[in-house]
Symmetry: C2
Subunit: 409 residues, 2 copies
């Protein structure tokens, strides 16, 4: 499909009417990448990121040296956390901090949650949740003698408020779930499930990794207790960029996490005798987080702030609908199955298509510069990072998928 031809296509019209189309050019767009459909695994860098990193290394680290810690670095995890709260989490200041990895912060958050009432010994979660979530919970259950209550996931990773309400009770310590399921993109009912947890006296802990930066979040309004998330997907923080944790301010004074490091201590420079946690969200830090690795995230938050998360979500819905339209028109007849909810309210920012041939055709797609994600046993996960993905790009990617499937029939 040449560029001339593509102007007649529906994708061209969708790009032309996309109010965010111009934002895409702020990202680095290497010519050989025809269709990047995995921004939900690793977001593209902004064009400015490389030079901003170099500038920070040269002028802040190299120029200010140790003084940098007194000139902003010490506050950066909380400052950036507050920005995350304001721009994408729906969280008032003082409840979010950046650092560690999602796995480490999930460990801290769940340990803090289950310590609130040691008489409660059950943790409800989704049987098909992302491995790290299940693995972290298995580890905590083993060390503390807790019982995991895995819910079957009718929506391939997602569970409903009704399911949760049916199992929580006086023995439930915490309900730990993902907002958007990593495979199906099913969107869980955060306020409904959180209310069901609260009705039983339990705490709700949310993993926002597959929603933050793509879907509006209202953590304060939803009365979420604790949440964690990663920043290298829709927040374009770079490979392994630091994660974040949110703790509701009403609960925060009672939350204690077990990794007592100096960065989470009250008055870290007094070097006191006994550890006392910081009064605020900083108590979730332990060691020194990477300052350089936070820079790309800060830049991306500024872009989202400029356009607004509502506009990001609107484009996300149009992009996922566009993929489903092409699935209906051309791929369903080739034996492809849709593994993502059709209801836009219950659909995150990626679409998973299943076909037994997908594993075999991924190398051919990659060779053509089409980069989706493969999730076994037979899922092609098409990530639609709203700000950096064009409809034309999706079209070219699905052309390649269709062509590869046709070659095999």
């Amino acid at each position: 499909m040449s560029e001339e031809q593509s102007e007649d296509r529906r994708s061209a019209a969708l790009d032309a009417s996309d109010p965010l189309a111009a934002v895409r050019s702020r990202f680095l767009l290497p010519r050989e990448v025809v269709a990047y459909l995995d921004g939900n695994s690793l977001g593209r860098p902004l064009e400015q990121t490389a030079s901003r990193l170099a500038y920070a290394a040269r002028t802040r680290w190299g120029g200010r040296l140790i003084r940098g810690w007194d000139e902003g670095w010490m506050e950066e995890p909380v400052r950036l956390g507050d920005e995350l709260g304001r721009v994408v989490l729906g969280a008032a200041p003082g409840q979010t901090v950046v650092g560690d990895s999602t796995s480490v912060l999930l460990y801290k958050a769940v340990r803090a949650a289950v310590a609130l009432d040691p008489a409660r010994t059950e943790v409800v979660h989704a049987a098909a949740d992302f491995p790290t979530d299940r693995f972290v919970l298995q580890g905590i259950a083993a060390e503390l003698g807790l019982t995991l209550v895995p819910l079957p996931a009718p929506h391939d990773g997602g569970v409903t408020a009704g399911q949760v309400a049916a199992v929580v009770g006086p023995g439930t310590a915490a309900v730990v779930l993902s907002h958007v399921a990593y495979r199906s993109a099913y969107v869980a009912d955060v306020p409904g499930i959180t209310a069901a947890a609260h009705a039983a006296g339990a705490v709700a802990v949310w993993d926002l990794s597959h929603s933050v930066g793509a879907l509006p979040l209202l953590l304060d309004a939803w009365a979420v207790d604790l949440a964690v998330g990663c920043t290298y997907k829709y927040l374009n923080g770079g490979p392994g960029s630091p994660a974040f944790v949110y703790a509701n301010r009403d609960l925060l004074p009672r939350l204690r996490q077990p990794i007592q490091g100096w960065m989470g201590a009250d008055a870290p420079f007094t070097m006191g005798e006994r550890y006392a946690p910081d009064a605020g969200i900083r108590r979730f830090l332990s060691g020194t987080p990477s300052i350089l690795a936070m820079l790309p995230l800060a830049d991306m938050l500024a872009v989202i702030d400029e356009v607004g998360i509502a506009a990001v979500r609107a484009k996300s819905e149009r992009l996922t609908a566009f993929v489903i339209d092409r699935y209906d028109a051309e791929l369903a007849s080739l034996g492809v199955r849709l593994a993502t909810p059709r209801d836009p309210m219950r659909r995150g920012s990626h679409v998973t298509l299943d076909h037994p041939a997908f594993e075999a055709i991924v190398p051919a797609l990659q060779a053509r510069g089409v980069i989706p994600d493969f999730r076994g046993p037979d899922g092609l996960r098409i990530g639609l990072s709203p700000l950096s993905t064009s409809f034309a790009e999706v079209d070219l990617g699905l052309d390649a998928v269709q062509e590869q499937l046709l070659r095999r029939t």
Copy 2:
């Protein structure tokens, strides 16, 4: 002191005969920093670091995108760990991995150590160790019901093999100490103390933060069980760069750390039902470590590899001896006290001087571009990062200290 005058000084002769003098020019040396004497808190960046970061962000992250994980990033924590082992730790491959922060890795290492024999319930440590080390141990002791045995530190943070031998016994689970004391620079006898721990059936866990990159380490030969360390001091990794953990290969198969994330799992991409730890050192990982934040460390290791850690240590000894010579000649008579061992075998790569006026004069030093570290109540910690520090720089810094003290008498 003008540059002309400085040529007549002993420092000029020492720089002229320093075989590593030329290496200093590979670091970023901003003109306004007259004397950087805090490379033991945050090392300077290499000149190449800024452009290398930009290049990696542009070509690896931006160009290869998610494919980067298949093209080296997945192995980078272990590859870089092996490099650390070869160049600075004295550790054979497969025992070292890079990630998390020192506090988080210390937590994991100590949790793994004390889990080896739950019948052993005591942890020996130094009462004056760096706060994060004490805080982490206090947290672990509280959650597991262990007893901490804090040793008084005659050497301001350092303890002796005799002290350790006197307290370890059948109830000792682990001995957790710093190799170089963060305040006094006292060098602990790692093989002697490790042997004392082993004689009682206990495990030795070492924090190498203030020695790695400045002193030769022989972890394998010393039969160290576990070790952690930070990379932003003498390894010039940048603010908050990832830490590392070493686990002796004989012990490794029995070590389990509690934060079970997917990056530490056997076959992370199979997304299995139950967590099983990786067979090797990777089991100490949990979440995704920052790839960009590892780059400066990799570059610095290449420089140390080129000159050899023995040469780095030789210069370190000359630099600290030079500071002590000037202390003896000019500062002792002003009421300054030396808080660092005179014996070069027992002295790390910094020198701490105590004087009640130091806290008050630090701003005046900073205003003149002289940047030492202040450690309460009255310590000026003079860090001598061997590869990036010149004797002339130390001279100018001590000139400023002397002048400020003279002004106050």
